[in-house]
């Protein structure tokens, strides 16, 4: 189980890891943070609105649009 110093990264991880596994959750957070020019440790509440729809794109293939949207909303609500 990965532990982040950043609370937002940790909360996203806590939502994603049971669904997509620890390795994939970690890689997803890292790549989405990089996409917006940040690291996992520098994520802020404002970034969640940009990251959440990107994470949704990854989940759609498993859950369909509607359920993936719910996870995305859950991540958005962390802020």
């Amino acid at each position: 189980m990965k532990t982040y110093s950043n609370e937002y990264a940790q909360k996203i991880y806590n939502i994603l890891a049971p669904m997509i596994g620890e390795l994939m959750a970690n890689a997803t957070i890292k790549s989405k943070a990089t996409q917006i020019g940040k690291t996992e440790d520098s994520l802020t509440a404002k970034d969640l609105a940009i990251i959440a729809p990107e994470i949704k794109k990854g989940l759609v293939v498993f859950l369909g649009n509607d359920a993936a949207e719910k996870i995305s909303a859950k991540i958005n609500q962390i802020a």
Binding site: P18, M19, G21, L23, L63
Partner: protein
């Protein structure tokens, strides 16, 4: 008790009964014949029902739902094939082991198309998702493995069947269709299996894992069947039937796991 747990138990019981009857020939030839013909009908029916609930659990009619719908369509065709095969042998008393092709073969062949499309939709959907693909070396290994499988099938099955002068044109076409169709199914199935390995214990990957495993079991059984049937050595009660029955039940389980995931999110 969860529905998935119940189905796991049922799967175990069915396969034990199947194995027991095949090994002991308990009850003689009639029981063996009925077990061999009706168990695949029951197992494919379970797969159809589970996949139906799975498709129903998706609210939006998007690519993900279409992928599962195509797999459901394919499995419905397999179910029709199993039912037709059983009816021909048990009701119409046709010697199906020496009659080739039968109506059931057309259903089986047609089933490959939606299944392949469904698996490919899942794979292309994953590629577009932006999630980790990773491990190029393992991809290389998988490519070599698939290439080796293609070569073995071509050398031991396709070439000898093509050269066979005793088999009719239509018979040859169907004998060739099965192994070629299997190779088309096993390729995305193996890739999906690899993808799911990246998810560790992640719950979302369980349905894909079981689905891929089910179709891989089908392919192994189909390839063995194609070879021994073409040799004229296939008889009712052959152990390879277990591969198909287990395959159907794993596909059914994948649908049920997906349904549970969707229900937990609603």
């Amino acid at each position: 008790m969860k529905k998935t747990k119940k189905l796991w138990i049922f799967l175990g019981i069915l396969l034990i009964i199947n194995l027991f009857v095949y090994l002991t020939h308990f009850g003689g030839k009639t029981i063996l014949l009925y077990t061999a013909d009706l168990l695949p009908v029951l197992c494919s029916c379970i797969a159809v029902v589970s996949l139906f609930f799975c498709v129903k659990s998706f609210k939006d009619f998007d690519t993900t739902k279409v992928a599962w719908l195509l797999i459901l369509l394919g499995v419905i065709l397999y179910f029709l094939a199993e039912s037709t095969f059983a009816a021909l042998e048990l009701v119409f008393l046709i010697d199906v082991n020496n009659t080739y092709p039968t109506l059931a073969d057309y259903f089986w062949c047609a089933g490959y198309i939606p299944v392949f499309m469904g698996l490919m939709l899942m794979y292309t959907g994953y590629k577009k998702s932006g999630l980790l693909m990773k491990n190029i070396k393992l991809y290389g290994f998988l490519s070599v493995l698939i290439l080796a499988l293609f070569s073995l099938v071509i050398y031991y099955l396709l070439i000898p069947i093509l050269k066979d002068t005793e088999t009719s044109g239509l018979g040859k076409f169907l004998y060739l269709f099965y192994p070629i169709g299997d190779l088309f199914i096993v390729t995305p199935a193996v890739i999906l299996m690899y993808i799911t390995s990246l998810f560790g214990k992640g719950s979302l990957s369980i349905p894909w894992k079981l689905l891929a495993l089910g179709f891989i079991l089908f392919t192994i059984s189909d390839l063995i069947y194609s070879y021994i049937d073409w040799q004229g050595a296939y008889e009712t009660g052959n152990m390879i039937d277990l591969g198909w029955n287990a395959g159907y039940l794993l596909i059914g389980l994948s649908g049920l796991y997906q349904t549970e995931i969707m229900e937990s999110l609603n």
